[in-house]
Symmetry: C2
Subunit: 220 residues, 2 copies
Amino acid sequence: MTQSEVAESQHPRERVLSAVYPLFAHRGVRDVGIDEIIRTAGVAKATFYRHFASKEALVLAFLQRRHEVFGINWLLGEVARRATTPEGRLLAIFDVFAEWFAREDYEACSFIRVMFELGASDPAGQASIGYLHEIRNQIVLLAKDAGLDDVDGFAWSWRILMAGSIVTAAEGDLGAASRARRLAAALIAQHRPATATQAFHCPASPGHHEGTGQFRRENR
Amino acid sequence: MTQSEVAESQHPRERVLSAVYPLFAHRGVRDVGIDEIIRTAGVAKATFYRHFASKEALVLAFLQRRHEVFGINWLLGEVARRATTPEGRLLAIFDVFAEWFAREDYEACSFIRVMFELGASDPAGQASIGYLHEIRNQIVLLAKDAGLDDVDGFAWSWRILMAGSIVTAAEGDLGAASRARRLAAALIAQHRPATATQAFHCPASPGHHEGTGQFRRENR
DNA sequence: CGGGCAAGACCGACCGGTCTCGCTCGTGGC
DNA sequence: GCCACGAGCGAGACCGGTCGGTCTTGCCCG
C-alpha cells in the first residue's frame, strides 16, 4: 500500500463512516440514500452491504461515531480545558456550546434529530435516547463533584437547558448559549445544599407536584 | 345531502387536513406518503391534487392548522383559565405543558420536528421557524404585561425552557414540566426590574458577552 | 489462484404526481 | 316539474424516479 493518494485508501467501512458522517449530521438520516452514500464514499454497493447489514445498521454506527467524537466525553475534555472547579466545569459546557452554535454549518444535536426523525420506537431512536441518557449520567457525576443536592433532578433540569439552547440556536438565537448559561447558574444556586439556598422568590403552583428523578415513557 | 353517515361528508380538503393531522403530528412528515394520506382521508388522488398543489403545500397547510388549533393562541387561552396575574400566566404555561407531556401519545412540537426533519432552508422548515417566532413574540407581550426587564432576551430564554422541556419530555423525563417551571420562576426573578434583583450567586464567565436580543442565522 | 473490491445491472416496492374513467349530484333551461 | 348537463368526486391505472437491497462481472493484488 502506497499510503499516498489522499487518505482514501483506508478500510471501506471506515470510508463509508467518515463519508456519511457530515451527510447524516447536517441533513438527517432519511434524506440521505444508499446510492448517494456509496457515491460519496467511493465504495461499491456490494462492499457497503458486506460491512453493514442494512441502512439501519449504518445509522446505528453513525450514532456511535457521533457519540465517540462529538459526544459527552469530547465535551468533558473541552470543559476540563476551560475550568478547574466542578461548578466552573458545569458552566463551561455553555461556553463550548457558544462556539458550537456560532459555526455557520451548525447542525444541532444528531441524537435529538434522529429521535424526532425516526421516533422513539425505532431502534436508531432508542439508541439516540440511550446516548442522551449517557450524557445525563455524566452530568450527574459533575453535579456530585460540585456537591449539589438532588443530582438526578439537577441533571434532568440541566438537560432542559442543553436541549433548549440547542433548539433555539437552530431557530436562530445567536445568544442561546449565554442565555442558557445564566439559567444554568441559577439552577446551580437552586441545588446548592443548605448554606444560602434560593433567596429569590418562587411563586407557588397550586397542586404542583415535586417532580423528582422519575423517568420512563413507553415507546409510542 | 342526508347529513347523516358519520361526519365524513365534509369538503374533501377538510377531510384531508383532519386525516393528515394526527399522522404528521405523531410520525413526522416524511414518513407519511400520499397514498396513505388519501386512503386515510377516503379521497381520490385527483381530488387531493385539486385542493393541494403538492405534498409540500399540504405540509404548509398542516403547520398552519397546527398553529391554529394547538399553537400559541390556544396556549394563551389555557393559561388565562388558570391564572390572573401576568407572572402567573407565564408560569401556567408549564402547568399546561405538564398535562401535555403526560399524554401517552405525546408527540412533541410539530414546528421543532419539521424544522429538524426538513431543515431550516426548506419552505416548511422556514414556516415552522416563523410559527416559533410568533410564539416568542407572544411571550414578549406577556413579559411586558408582567413589567419585566429586557423582554426580548427574556422571551428567548423562555423559549429555551419551553423547547428544552419538550425535548427532555420526549427523551423520557416525566417531570420535565415542573422542572422547567422552577427554572422559569428563577428566570422571572432575574428579569424583575430594580427591586430585589438576583440575590443568588452568578459566577463570572471570562470573555463572556452579554447576548441580548440579537438574532438571525442564514439558512444553511 | 482466490478474496475483496469497484462498477453497475437488476429487483420489487414505493415515492410524488398525472390522467382516465364512470358515477353522482346540484343547477339551469325549458 | 323535469331533464340534460357539467363540475366535482372516488377509484385506480399509470408515469418516471428513487428507495433499500441483491447479484453478476471483471479487475487487482496479495
